[in-house]
């Protein structure tokens, strides 16, 4: 675990400027994308990639930085989306920021007690419990027809205007507006998460990941920090949920099923855990791949399963770890004998 995971943090300060420039270039390209390619299908596809990228990044905070495995992180996307959707339908159809805030607060209120139970158990039971609780939320959403629309999903969610400080920037039903809103929120979340991860709090989380016992020996309240990390990750997931329902205007219970959870896990794996940006790239690759495979064959599960197995066996650090294969030392393709 130690050898496999801490490689990404070796040059924390080195190349900071290069990274910043690279980030700005990528953001610039993404921001210009809907004006260059005006096909609504592609705008929506990239939008979905960014929403799932945010979700995958939030899972990375748990998996890559705290060492906690959540199988059903999509449940918190779902909960956030349902709360935002219900708020927009029943309470205030036009206030987008208030709806997102209510979504985050509501999800936190649900996630904290769940997390409190989960962190009381060890690493393995934690993972199993996320599965059990996730399926519990799925069952509730699926069976509570009167509130959530059950199998049919939550329909007729209004598209509020996106307003900022008195200006109306556009309607969230417009793909381009929604795309830019998602991009902006994704970038804010990425920067906030980056800051949190590189704060003393983030170091505590990494200490817990590396060795829970030692972390507790130096006086860290492991359960408390795990719960805080969990809550932070669930809040980020609920933001992605809010964006999801604003972009789709619809959510069904399958979004919260264990299969969708496995997809999120795969995005993190594909991109490389413990890197923050990796999972966002992973989400992009995964959604492209899913789009492609599902048009090719109906037996997509076989391929998804096979890809996961091969990834874990041969490329545990994912896309971000691709460079390792070509490293001078210890790489799979060695350039120089040791």
């Amino acid at each position: 675990m130690v050898e496999e995971m801490n490689g990404a943090h070796m040059n924390k300060t080195g190349g900071f400027v290069i990274r910043l420039v690279a980030l700005l270039v990528v953001v610039g390209c993404l921001a210009l994308f809907p004006f260059v390619i005006t096909n609504r299908f592609y705008i929506s596809l990239v939008n979905e990639m960014m929403i799932y990228g945010l979700l995958a990044m939030s899972l990375d905070v748990l998996l890559g930085y705290t060492g906690l495995l959540s199988f059903m992180h999509n449940a918190y996307l779902g909960i956030g989306a349902y709360i935002v959707g219900l708020f927009l339908i029943h309470v205030a159809p036009s206030s987008i920021w208030l709806a997102l805030l209510v979504g985050v607060v509501g999800t936190t209120v649900i996630a904290v007690p769940v997390g409190w139970v989960q962190v009381r158990t060890g690493g393995l039971a934690f993972a199993l419990l996320t599965l059990a609780f996730g399926m519990m939320f799925f069952t509730v959403v699926w069976k509570w027809y009167d509130l959530t629309g059950g199998d049919d999903g939550l329909m007729g969610v209004p598209h509020p205007d996106v307003h900022l400080g008195g200006w109306v920037l556009g309607n969230s039903g417009d793909p381009t507006v929604m795309y830019l809103l998602t991009l902006a929120i994704l970038m804010i979340c990425l920067l906030v998460t980056w800051r949190v991860i590189h704060s003393p709090f983030g170091s505590v989380l990494e200490a817990i990941r590396e060795n829970e016992d030692r972390a507790s020996f130096v006086g860290i309240n492991v359960r408390k920090y795990k719960l805080l990390g969990w809550t932070f990750a669930c809040m980020l997931a609920s933001i992605s949920g809010g964006l999801y329902i604003l972009y789709r205007g619809y959510i069904g219970p399958t979004t919260m099923h264990a299969f969708a959870g496995a997809a999120v896990l795969m995005m993190v794996l594909l991109g490389g855990m413990g890197t923050l940006w990796g999972p966002i790239v992973g989400a992009g690759i995964f959604i492209l791949m899913q789009d492609y495979i599902s048009t090719m064959t109906e037996h997509w599960e076989l391929f998804v399963g096979l890809v996961v197995i091969l990834l874990v066996l041969f490329l545990p650090r994912g896309f971000a770890g691709l460079g390792d294969l070509f490293r001078f030392k210890n790489g799979l393709f060695r350039f120089r004998k040791e």
């Binding site: 690493g123 039971a125 997509w300 998804v304 874990v312």
Partner: protein
């Protein structure tokens, strides 16, 4: 129907359900206890067992012959799985094993859908097992009673195997201190492989007896996987006695919940698990060893 008849029905149903939970959960627990591998594909192996039983019975074999052959097939499959993908994971963090077996679950589900399709199947039973037996005013299906017998026989066999044979002795010792066992000149690789195959065989048995109880469909394994997690988490990871207690508890609670509130039965089970874990984080009997 009288109150007594309903009560008898509920009692027997919950025992049958507990029995199936128990066999699946014990298989999962044996693999975890000996190899520290939490096999998320266990539910899919159970489903494969049911499908294997279905195919064997539909080609004309006797149900009881299928009950023996299907677990052997699943055990061989487990052997292959252990050697090809689980063994390379031994030195890595358990997170990777979990993700790997999760991928395996998808793969096996994909295989099931590829070979048997999405539609539900039913195992054809021998004529005498289709009858019902009058017990205290209710007519109880003979097959369900047979299931109870098979469960009891399986558990008794397992206990005798672990308690009285030399291999069982090695397995029990390995669940206590694996390093010591390997110091005694016993190849731990065989222990890991054996444990995995044994767990898979148990999943296969459960699959075959669950076939006629419920419909056989590709998602049957998922529900069972979640239920057996609940069982082993409540009972204590790796604790065989804990699994017995927890399986009985979950079987009774789930049957009662299904009888009274139908739709949200699983929610009640999960809530109960949350409450138990909030006060006893290591499960009812603690993280255990084989007794």
């Amino acid at each position: 129907m009288s109150v007594i008849a309903t009560a008898v029905d509920i009692t027997l149903n919950s025992l049958v359900l507990s029995g199936v939970f128990l066999i699946v959960a014990i298989g999962l627990n044996i693999v975890y206890g000996l190899s520290r591998v939490m096999n998320l594909a266990h539910g899919s192996l159970y489903a494969l067992g049911a499908y294997a039983g279905y195919t064997l019975v539909s080609v004309g074999l006797n149900f009881f012959v299928a009950l023996i052959i299907a677990p052997v097939i699943i055990a061989i499959l487990g052997l292959i799985i252990e050697r090809t993908v689980i063994a390379p994971m031994r030195k890595r963090s358990i997170v990777y094993t979990l993700i790997l077996t999760y991928g395996l679950m998808f793969f096996l589900d994909g295989l099931i859908k590829y070979f048997w399709g999405n539609e539900p199947h039913f195992i054809e039973l021998p004529a005498f097992m289709k009858q019902t037996l009058p017990i205290l005013g209710t007519h109880y299906p003979v097959f369900r009673l047979m299931t109870l017998l098979i469960t009891a026989a399986t558990m008794a066999g397992l206990m005798l195997f672990l308690g009285k044979t030399k291999i069982g002795l090695i397995l029990r010792a390995a669940s206590h201190i694996p390093e010591m066992v390997s110091c005694m000149g016993i190849n731990m690789t065989y222990v890991h492989v054996g444990a995995f195959a044994l767990g898979c065989a148990l999943a296969g048995i459960a699959g075959v007896i669950a076939g006629p109880l419920y419909t056989i469909d590709p998602i049957m394994g998922h529900e069972m996987l979640l239920s057996s997690f609940v069982v082993i988490v409540i009972g204590g990871l790796g604790s065989l006695r804990g699994a017995v207690v927890a399986a009985l508890l979950i079987g009774v609670v789930q049957t009662l919940a299904e009888f009274f509130v139908t739709d949200l039965a699983m929610v009640i089970v999960y809530m109960m698990m949350a409450v138990i874990l909030a006060f006893m984080p290591r499960g009812l009997l603690g993280e255990g060893r084989f007794e």
